[in-house]
């Protein structure tokens, strides 16, 4: 074997001198624009250690030999199953607008069209930032980017259509909520309690990934350390009471969308993951008790197809290593990155210019996804950057592109098709090692919490985003139709912009007034003495770090204490996070 490697190395050097370099000179280049890999590039590669089998440690080749969706792909084709409409125990389309009544009626309409997935709730920005609809800061935002939730009454209203075959022990829910995640989980708990549904049968996923909010999405409230305390409380509470609920949905793609490089994306999300795992351990749980209920949203997102495939492989390997070796897990499920999608291009890769170009872009992402253990989803629909909702045409093209990749091209028929490629194994190692050295840097800073508190992560990705922008403006990176191949005489490609009627603009317009009226009525009619006394207890318990706040939050929610009233108590006790300077 070694002799063979020596021969290959010699042959490679010979090739470089006699063939490659000559060509480089002939074209008057400084270096070769392409690369070629040989077994010498993965000299110490051990298949069993670095790749292994699908469904086995270190999960480089995938979490499972095949996933649920692949098992029934042919059946799905025969019945024309639409994954975005839910059903078969899945969540429906991510959505939410206006008041709870508006969104409830929308869901009813969807159910009437046989789109019966569990509620996949988008909350408006006021709710995400822990503000009630009557807050001055929330003016103009009520019911805009999601539904407004001020109290349990609102939450309960959304669930009115979810009874019978759609009862909450039968369909899962998805809550894209972070800073007030504990309150939304409490609302779900109280809903189950009122309906007499055992908590053990509740399914769903709260995003509950507050740390990436500081780095990327921006809907944080309290400082990082105090935010992690609330995570700890939800982690322990869910583990002990809602064993089927995912505890969180850790995001890497938000961080990438905010500007992170591939290595920063991987390192920051893994470092956040370590902080969450440690929080569970600090709460007195054993790793295999709670880590199996950690889930992930998505990682990565770029047009570099090879790198994105390598990235997914590296991410699975790193996480499995952390959970097994650092935290001592034995359960395989604890070690897996359970995520709905794998590689993708990221919405950041889509362009407003020549919008339809986003379709081939998304297909490239789909191929990367199919080759890295996921559904080959051509995400997002091409009109994503136009920001007015996806048109029927764009959605159909997205779904059909995905179907063509699955059924015609067979993109997802082979597990980890790049395994053993000299190039891919080399690239996977390279990405893993770059991410690990960034993780070490964060570790030296004292972990994710410190790297967030100091503003390091925020500034690092802002700088990366700016570097990327400069490369585009200097034509070092090329974006077709944006900084190259565009001309004065752009042809006007007609795009069909028929968007399915979803959110009634009139309801959207009046949501704020209606929501405020409802809130004023609630505050008038509820038992305000109880509210004050519950808030008082909550305040005292919040001040004691050792107390799990979930039972108190549940009690508050049950008695119509509002979302902001709870958050305000925490604001007083925990303080508020400070923005990171430039």
């Amino acid at each position: 074997m070694n002799d063979q490697l020596e021969d290959i190395k010699k042959a490679r050097n010979n090739w470089q001198e006699t063939i490659l370099n000559k060509r480089v000179q002939r074209f008057n280049l400084k270096k070769s624009p392409t690369k070629f890999y040989t077994p010498a590039d993965i000299e110490s590669h051990s298949f069993l250690e670095k790749v292994g089998f699908p469904g086995e440690y270190p999960f480089t080749a995938g979490n499972n030999p095949f996933d649920f969706w692949r098992a029934y792909a042919e059946d799905a084709a025969k019945i024309g199953y639409r994954p975005d409409w839910g059903g078969a125990g899945g969540v429906g389309k991510y959505g939410g607008f206006g008041t709870a009544e508006d969104y409830r009626d929308y869901l009813k309409r969807m159910h009437a069209m046989n789109r019966k997935g569990g509620p996949n709730i988008a909350f408006d920005l006021a709710t995400q930032c822990g503000l009630d609809s009557d807050s001055e800061m929330a003016e103009g935002e009520i019911g805009r980017v999601g539904v407004a939730i001020d109290s349990f009454q609102d939450f309960q209203t959304i669930y009115e259509p979810y009874t019978g075959e759609l009862e909450i022990d039968k369909v899962p829910s998805n809550f894209t909520i972070n800073a007030p995640a504990a309150i939304i989980i409490a609302m779900y708990v109280i809903l189950a309690e009122k309906r007499g549904i055992p908590l053990t049968s509740l399914k769903g996923t709260p995003q509950n990934d507050i740390l990436k909010e500081f780095i990327a999405r921006g809907t944080y409230i309290y400082p990082p350390k105090e935010s992690l305390r609330l995570f700890r409380d939800t982690c322990k509470f869910c583990t002990q009471n809602l064993p089927q609920l995912n505890i969180n949905s850790i995001g890497g793609y938000h961080i990438r969308e905010a500007g992170a490089t591939r290595e920063q994306d991987l390192a920051f999300s893994m470092s956040n993951g370590i902080a969450y795992l440690q929080a569970g351990i600090d709460a007195g749980l054993s790793i295999d008790e709670f880590a199996p209920q950690f889930s992930f949203n998505a990682f990565g997102g770029s047009m570099q197809i090879y790198h994105e495939i390598a990235f997914q492989r590296a991410a699975r390997r790193i996480w499995a290593g952390i959970v097994r070796d650092r935290f001592g897990a034995k359960n395989k499920r604890s070690m897996m990155i359970r995520q709905p999608i794998t590689a993708h291009i990221g919405c950041i890769s889509t362009t407003k210019q020549r919008t339809i170009n986003n379709l081939p872009r998304a297909v490239i992402g789909g191929i990367a996804a199919g080759m890295s253990g996921g559904i080959p989803g051509a995400f997002p629909p091409f009109d994503e950057p136009l920001g007015l909702g996806h048109s029927l045409e764009a959605v159909q093209l997205q779904l059909d592109a995905t179907r063509i990749m699955i059924y015609e091209a067979g993109v997802a028929d082979i597990n980890d098709p790049w395994a053993g490629s000299y190039f891919m194994e080399n690239l996977t190692d390279e990405i893993e090692s770059a991410a690990r050295s960034e993780m070490d840097k964060i570790e030296k800073m004292g972990g994710a919490i410190h790297a967030i508190e100091s503003g390091y992560m925020t500034r690092a990705i802002a700088k990366s985003a700016y570097e990327r922008q400069k490369r585009i403006e200097n034509q070092e990176d090329f974006v077709v139709g944006v900084n190259c191949f565009n001309s004065e005489n752009e042809i006007d490609v007609t795009i069909n912009r028929v968007v399915e009627t979803t959110y009634d603009p009139e309801l959207m317009e009046t949501a704020e007034i209606r929501q405020k009226e409802k809130l004023a009525r609630l505050k008038r009619e509820r038992d305000n003495t109880t509210v004050l006394s519950l808030l008082n207890t909550l305040r005292n318990h919040a001040a004691d770090e050792s107390i799990n706040l979930m039972p108190d939050i549940c009690e508050c929610v049950k008695n119509d204490v509002t979302l902001q009233e709870i958050c305000d108590v925490f604001r007083d006790v925990f303080g508020e996070a400070q923005p990171v300077k430039l």
């Binding site: 920005l125 006021a126 995400q128 930032c129 503000l131 001055e136 800061m137 929330a138 003016e139 103009g140 935002e141 805009r144 980017v145 909010e213 999405r217 921006g218 809907t219 944080y220 969308e257 905010a258 500007g259 362009t351 407003k352 210019q353 950057p385 136009l386 920001g387 007015l388 925020t458 802002a462 700088k463 985003a465 700016y466 922008q469 400069k470 585009i472 403006e473 944006v482 900084n483 923005p579 990171v580 300077k581 430039l582």
Partner: protein
């Protein structure tokens, strides 16, 4: 306050902006060199900062003095910060769809404070139909996604 001064400015080479003479309202004259000052602001609750921070870095590199408010500022806070910091330009970054009401409030506030000479720019996900509405409010320029930072810098240099 800076914005209440009557400014005579000339642009000289090296992308540096130089104010040759500054005439105070009461008639005094002083010479002073000063970079164009820009306040990049995130009004409302939208937390997507990439655009704001990239534009801030880019304008700084283009020779402007740049101040960034951070997230979740009310139009009133942005207006006060702009006046306090003596800025020539306010760049609002909004991706939540609340651009009409937030911009309107800022324009009202600037008017009340007699600071209408501060140029207001809006960036973010702004549907084409809203661009004119923003301009009618007095917004000097609207820059949607895909705009290069140099384009924004050029616009400011030409219009301040």
């Amino acid at each position: 306050m800076w914005h209440k001064l009557c400014l005579n400015k000339t642009i000289i080479q090296n992308k540096r902006i130089k104010y040759t003479t500054i005439t105070w309202k009461h008639g005094g004259i002083m010479n002073q060199e000063r970079k164009i000052r820009v306040l990049i602001a995130k009004p409302g609750l939208d937390g997507h900062e990439r655009g704001a921070r990239v534009v801030a870095y880019g304008l700084r590199d283009a020779g402007f003095e740049v101040i960034y408010t951070g997230l979740r500022q009310s139009p009133g806070q942005i207006c006060s910060a702009a006046i306090q910091e003596d800025v020539n330009v306010i760049g609002l970054s909004i991706l939540s769809g609340a651009h009409l009401s937030l911009t309107n409030k800022l324009m009202d506030c600037l008017k009340t404070q007699e600071a209408e000479d501060i140029m207001v720019l809006v960036g973010g996900i702004i549907p084409a139909v809203d661009i004119n509405k923003l301009k009618e409010m007095g917004v000097a320029g609207v820059f949607t996604s895909g705009t290069s930072v140099s384009e924004i810098a050029q616009f400011i240099k030409e219009n301040v």
